[in-house]
Every structure is written in C-alpha cells, then in structure tokens.
Symmetry: C2
C-alpha cells in the first residue's frame, strides 16, 4: 500500500489558513488533522485540543525535551510546535494528514519531509490582507503594523512551496486544494506498487 499524503497548508498571517482547513476537514472526513501545540493564549472560541494544544512554557519545554515535536519554532514571542507522534503512524497506514502551520514551521517540516505536499495560501490582494488582519480584532495598532509588514515580507517565502492557492473565497480555495490532493495521489512517484502489479503479472 502507498503511504498517505502529508498535506501542509501554510501562508502569511491573515490569509485564512484556519478557515480553509476547517472547510477541507468538513469535506474530506478521512483527512487526519494534526493539531499543533502553542504557548500563545487561546483566542475567543478556541478550545484546547481542537485548534491547538495550549501549553504553558514549562509544558512546551517538556515536550521538546521528550522529543515530541517534528519541529518547533518561536513566532511573535510565542512557541509553536508540530507533534510528531501519530503523523508518521497515520501516513504509514495510508491515511492523509493535514498540517496547518506557520511559514517558519512549514519550512522546517519541508526539510524533514521532502515528499510532503506544500501549499501556500495567498491573499487576493494586500488591501484584503490588511483588512483581514484588522478584522481579527485581537491586535493593538502596533501589533497590527508589525504583523502586516511581516505578512507582506512572508509572501516571497511562498516561492519555496510547490503550490500557491489564492484564498479569494474559502470554497474556491478548498476546491483547489482538493484538486491538488487528487493530483498528488496520481503522481508516478507515489504509485510504484501500481506499476509493479501491472508489469509483474503473469504472462497472459
């Protein structure tokens, strides 16, 4: 059996990674969502063990020490990490795993998992990006300015990914990612068994 796909959805802050991933999970029930850990505080409506594992700095450090992370990084003064346990297990079972992750984390995963599928979400325009960061409403003006400048700078990092998807509407972006998943399943490099079965069959 072929391994599952590691699908990494990433992008600058405010490009709507979370919303797009929620849509994907609703439409592809077999997709396993890998929950990240963070030391940042939950936003309104976020639940521990659903959007993130919300850890204290001490707990986060313990997870590092115990080798529980595929990667971890500091972003805007908070720590974020991708728990490795379960991801490999699911992939080996042929299940697809979805990872929603910031850019720094995605680049770290890319180095360790070159056969993953790396998708970069883009805002439809810088104006829209600015609006989205503002509308989040959880930032002070200083935090907003810093975050917007950083987000614009981050867009160039997308050139290191395989796929770029413009998040103009959540539905359209999710459809494109579904197409990418379907296409990646057809990659010759992921279908060695298929060729082996056809060419090793008995003479007819």
């Amino acid at each position: 059996m072929e391994k599952g796909l590691l699908i990494v959805v990433s992008g600058a802050s405010g490009t709507g990674k979370g919303t797009v991933c929620k849509k994907l999970l609703a439409e592809i029930p077999t997709l396993y969502y890998s929950i990240s850990a963070t030391t940042r505080r939950p936003r309104v409506g976020e639940t521990d063990g659903v959007e993130y594992f919300f850890l204290t700095r001490e707990e986060f450090q313990r997870w590092i020490d115990e080798g529980k992370f595929l990667e971890h990084a500091e972003v805007y003064g908070n720590f974020y990490g991708t728990p490795a346990h379960k991801i490999e297990e699911r992939l080996e079972r042929g299940e697809d795993v979805l990872l929603e992750i910031d850019i720094q984390g995605a680049l770290n995963v890319m180095a360790k998992k070159p056969d993953g599928v790396y998708i970069f979400l883009l805002p439809p325009s810088l104006e829209e990006l600015s609006n989205r960061i503002k509308n989040r409403g959880t930032e002070s003006p200083e935090t907003f300015a810093r975050r917007f400048k950083s987000a614009v700078g981050e867009i160039e990092t997308g050139l290191r990914y395989q796929y770029a998807v413009v998040n103009d509407t959540v539905d359209a972006a999710a459809e494109k990612i579904k197409a990418i998943i379907a296409a990646e399943r057809c990659r010759v490099s992921r279908n060695a068994a298929l060729f082996q079965n056809l060419t090793n069959s008995k003479e007819m």
Copy 2:
C-alpha cells in the same frame, strides 16, 4: 499573463486515451485539442481533421520537410506526427492545449517541452488491456499478439511521466485529469506574476 498548460495524455495501446480525451474535451470547452497527423488508415467512424489529419506518405514527408511537426515517429509501420503550428500560439495566449499521443511521441515532446504536464493512462489490469485490444476488432490475431506484448512492455515507460491515471472508468479517469489540470495551474513555478503583483504593490 501566465502561459497555458500543455497537457499530454499518453499510454500503452488499448488503454483508452481517445475516449478519455473526448470526455475531457466535452467537459472543458476551452481546452484546445491538438490534432495529430498520421499515415495510418482511418478506422470506422474516424474523420479526417477530427481524430487525425489522415495523410499519404508523400504528404506526411512534405509536412516533415516544411518543418510542420513538433515531433514525428514511426509506430507499427505507420507515421504519426504532432503539428507544431497553433500549439505554441495557443499556449502563449494562455490557453490550455490537450495532446493525445503515443508513448514514443510523448517522450519526444517531453524532451522539447519540459514544462508540459505528462499523464500516463494505465489499464486497470492486464486482462482488461487484453480485452480492450481484442474488442477493438480491427486486428488480426498476429497484430493482436504483437500489440498486446508491446503494450505490456510500454507500461514501464510510464515511470518517466509525472502522473499515472488508471482508466477503470472513463468518468473517474477524466475527473482525475481535471484535478491534475487544476493542481498544475496552482504550481508556484507557473504563478510568478501572482507573486510579483503581491510583493511589488505599493506600501499601504
């Protein structure tokens, strides 16, 4: 504007390239079908200028001399060629071009057009492949045996393509190819303009 996609659908004889491509053209009206030229005789139901340009050997040689082919090759004693005119013109205009082509021809195009999308159709099983070649009903037993053996041998060539699609049902195969087209449009390498627009915009 980004260039159109050159989509090359190929595969061993009897894997149903023609039927799958017809389905694709019916579902994606903007797709431009590049008609090949051949010196083989039309099969029942085939029309000059629709499935192929049916040429005499002399006409075919004249097209070669006039540099009209992107590639040409001899297969089973007949000549097949891909007319270059129009393909490049359409691609430059941003239109997608579909090329249905035998393996030898596809490998020739691959060498000249490395940014094309190369899709290899596979039969669901060797038994099914044998049935399909038989059911075509246009072959003598000798031709059948030669063609079947050759088709099985050709399957390994698929490892040189980017994508492999099992043609178990025409609908499913066409859906997969549509997903591949949608995914390829999202490739970062095909979206330089998108990144440039976002990163060159004025400061906000």
